[in-house]
Assembly symmetry: C2
Homo-oligomer: 435 residues x 2
């Protein structure tokens, strides 16, 4: 007998859970489209060289090979995010795309991480990005922030907060503190770990590993603990007394991006000066979505501005800004914490019961009429006692149960427990009125 066991890190839902996942997927997709984003999908597979060259954690890449050629070294690998594939896609198809290119892409990605709570090796990411050719207005950053916040507000299994920072602001502040180019980038990577290693850890790494002066390191840590409402951005940054051209630019850009948001979005945003996001390619706004009721969960989504993502594939410059909704992790949390009611495992609205096989063809015709009016209808498979068939409907959350009665039909509404004569047309009308 072949082994049947869950594979750690590869989530698999029951049908009733998958119903929830499909619904949420569709909500997000529909929201992305409402802002005019168009879909792309890229193969699960990229050239291994495409993925490795992007300086990610190579250890997490799943290489693939034909089974019988295993051991020969792989040419292909599974994508670990949707950003590198987007960059490759834009470089490859640029002549067939029109810019700014606003795309959504909602696919599974794979990472060979050590599995742990809330971490998966296979999971859905729902990405939106806006990519310009040579230039991309700041309004695009505003749009990404609006879409990402609205996506979480739409699904809304638990409240969320959008943490925001700006790479130019960080760079400017660190420069005003006397850090040179190289040290600034290194410092950003260290500060990014503050939730993991704590203030002391950051302090230690800044001073010992990067050789930053103790007093400057202390100011950097103090900066990283700042968190304030978006309305206070200008005054709080001014109060630091750290003047630099990049500080001015960062504050101005953030101000403009925030001015484009709805009141509701602005209230969910907070400036978080500890937010650094380690990824090299961010150059402007950086965004992370957090769930206050689950502080240990980490980020449920995020994104930011990158000046030249496609650089590795093309000599042309393609600046972009994007965001990602971590669908599988968010849904996984919702199931685990009971944040979402899981429906019954059924989608039909009507069950047509069958008492004898001879009558089935007639009942099938009735069901076809309902389906062609958009009413999801099952015809019972088999002919057990009626009680069993009604039980089947109840277990699956089917509300209307149809019986043949003489030459006509009757329908029982399992919600109101009433039973009345009906016809296909009458039932279609009843269900239309009830929904």
């Amino acid at each position: 007998m072949a082994k049947v066991a869950p594979i750690s890190g590869f989530p698999e839902w029951l049908p009733e859970q998958r119903l929830v996942e499909e619904r949420v997927y569709e909500q997000i997709r529909s929201l992305y489209r409402s802002f005019g984003f168009v879909p792309i999908e890229t193969p699960a597979v990229e050239l291994l060289s495409t993925l490795v060259s992007k300086g990610s954690d190579d250890r997490e890449i799943y290489a693939i090979n034909r089974h019988q050629a295993i051991g020969e070294g792989a040419e292909f690998a599974l994508h670990f995010d949707l950003t590198v594939p987007l960059a490759r896609y834009v470089a490859q198809h640029a002549h067939q795309l029109s810019f700014p290119f606003k795309r959504y892409q909602m696919q599974k990605v794979w990472r060979g991480e050590r599995p742990q709570r809330g971490r998966y090796r296979e999971f859905y990411q729902c990405d939106i990005d806006i990519v310009g050719r040579e230039e991309l207005p700041l309004a695009a950053d505003g749009e990404i922030l609006a879409v990402l916040d609205t996506a979480f507000a739409t699904v809304n299994f638990t409240p969320h907060v959008v943490r925001i920072n700006h790479r130019k602001l960080l760079q400017g502040l660190y420069r005003a503190l006397g850090l040179n180019d190289e040290r600034r980038s290194a410092a950003i990577r260290v500060v990014d770990k503050i939730r993991k290693i704590g203030n002391d850890g950051v302090l230690r790494e800044l001073t010992s590993a990067l050789g930053v002066e103790e007093s400057v390191a202390q100011r950097i840590v103090a900066l990283a603990t700042l968190e304030f409402p978006v309305e206070e951005l200008r005054e709080r940054v001014m109060a630091l007394g750290l003047e630099d051209e990049l500080v001015t630019t960062g504050v101005a850009e953030l101000g403009q991006i925030l001015s484009l948001q709805s009141e509701a979005t602005r209230k969910r945003c907070v400036i978080d000066m500890s937010l650094a996001r380690g990824l090299e390619y961010y150059t402007g706004i950086i965004i992370e979505v957090h769930l206050p009721q689950f502080p240990d969960f980490g980020s449920a989504g995020g994104g930011g501005r990158y000046e030249n993502l496609v650089g590795q594939f093309s000599n042309q410059k393609f600046p972009g800004v994007g965001g990602s909704f971590g669908l599988t992790r968010y849904i996984g949390l919702a199931f685990e914490e009971g944040l979402v009611p899981v429906p019954k495992p059924g989608v039909a609205q009507v069950l047509v019961t069958v008492l004898a096989e001879e009558g089935r063809a007639h009942l099938e015709a009735f069901a076809r009429e309902l389906r062609s009016a958009g009413v999801a209808t099952e015809v019972f498979l088999g002919t057990p006692k009626l009680g069993k068939q009604i039980e089947y409907a109840e277990r699956r959350g089917v509300r209307w149960v149809v019986f043949q009665s003489g030459n006509g039909f009757e329908v029982k509404d399992l919600a109101s427990k009433t039973q009345v004569p009906t016809s296909a047309a009458a039932l279609i009308a009843t269900i239309g009125a009830a929904s």
Copy 2:
């Protein structure tokens, strides 16, 4: 510069093509749900032992391994169909499912085939199966046939024919011709290749490889050339004069399955005695969907009844019947042959133009009103001349273009070329009436 090249066998569409694919995917999904099927999704990855043990072509399996561990032998592999994962899923979750279990599953699968026209290494399959515990009524076979035919009739890029045969009928006829158990199964596999190797090829393999008598082999080939309308099933089989219990059962079962179909479906069905489908596990009806206008295309979908699919994973018996719509191949053909109009690469209904950044926040508020009423709306990113912004709308198929005009708004309908004053509410009403 990293290499940017298409990977042979891994299709990648432009956004306007992906719009078509998403629409068709949604049509199929919606149809499957209308019959009461519930969704599942399984990981892309199964244990390698799960996939290899199922006696498929091992050479086509893609094994995966973490990049840095490549060469160590793989534990996992990408699924090559959705049937083996279904079997594993049912065995694993049987205690949490209710039977008959009617599920749809629409995912990508991977096969390391040599790429050639119309063949892909990564492609979507859209599967439906009904799985019973211990038993499954014949009505389930009728339902699968109805769903699969209706799916093709719904998408309908080109006419289709549903070719039908029955394993019991084949077994019975071959037994009546004197073939023993083992030879019958071998003969079915040979006949399955008739479109590839021709009548002579089949004759040769039957006589030389299987040692079937020349005269019997000739009758088998003659049988395999029979093709007739479903109404003639009984009389045409009777006319063969080959009596066997399995012939009687096969004809009765096919008759019952066909009696449950709509007139439209029955007209698209044909009995094809050459149809054998090599897969070992089929035991009853076998189905293949063909596209008469593209005779070399092969099958666009197919399926059948299997008495004990889950056998490799469980001691319980789980009979099933299922079908599959080969979405990627079908779409690929449609693109290649121009069977479907490819839309413009846009999804927004409205473009709000922007002439100065100072006005953007106000225009964003207008756009939010439209979106919250379900109207997909873009706000132009940047502030070039109006002509450029209108061109943008035209290129993406956006019909309504909004301009700020004094304290109010005007809208231009690019279809009728008329321009009138408007408000968010008025525009929502106009668009609602136009669609």
